[in-house]
Symmetry: C2
Subunit: 125 residues, 2 copies
DNA sequence: CTTATATTTTCGAACATTCGCATATGCGAG
DNA sequence: CTCGCATATGCGAATGTTCGAAAATATAAG
């Protein structure tokens, strides 16, 4: 029954998609609502085209969706639970990071799990 | 506060580690208990050295641990919950696969979540 | 010591991803 | 139509990953 293998392959695609620090941060950014490309690029301090490229990957994998409003392309998570799922992954990071910097994890967990945190007052226009 | 970025990077490492179909299948194999390299290689139909290589990656990331018994290297998941976590990832695969083969997912979920399923009566003792 | 078995390590080639930069597209304003 | 802004796309270079085959290590047995 090689179907399991097919599922494992698809699943691996998802994991790979989330296997990039910037993409994780982008998902984290979108956790509290939709944002346009420029806003994400600015908050994350990344060149604009790269953000766009990452987003198109996430879009291809049906992790985010695009909505256009004028000339802005506004993205949002299709399934916000994916962010919760990522937070759960923190459990496995814990052990490794503890050696280096224990507080970082707790900070991250707090930032990612509290509902009313907002790092984006950066409405650029 | 670049700590979040550091955590995202570590987290990405974990995701990348699990972002490979064979490694997912290996974790799945180890879900029901420890196994030696040869047994995994046989069940998964993979060349022996590759299994070893994947295992060393997973070991480096503290996902599996090794125990030696005679000439066998027996591996087991350090945190079995990681397997549960992977199963949760299936939720995000669902939509994509549905088009191709809906049953595959259900099968996979069943195989991965039932506690006493065993697809490998081929105990190579 | 020699042989057989189990696993790991090494190495180069094939392949995939990420990056930065330049250019293209889409859209609204004038 | 032309300009300027927001985003996307294309492309080559740098970098990272996976692969198969060969060689190295370790352990047990004779």
């Amino acid at each position: 029954m090689p179907q399991r293998q097919a599922v494992a392959k698809e699943l691996a695609e998802i994991f790979k998609a989330v296997g990039h620090a910037d993409r994780i941060r982008m998902i984290e950014e979108l956790r509290h609502g939709e944002k346009d490309v420029n806003s994400i690029a600015q908050t994350l301090q990344l060149p604009n085209p790269r953000v766009s490229q990452h987003l198109s990957l996430l879009r291809a994998l049906r992790i985010v969706e695009e909505r256009r409003e004028g000339r802005r392309h506004i993205y949002h998570l299709i399934q916000p639970e994916i962010a919760d799922w990522i937070v759960q992954g923190l459990a496995f990071v814990e052990g490794r990071m503890r050696a280096l910097n224990a507080a970082a994890i707790d900070d991250a967990r707090r930032l990612w799990t509290t509902p009313s945190d907002d790092t984006s007052p950066a409405e650029t226009k």
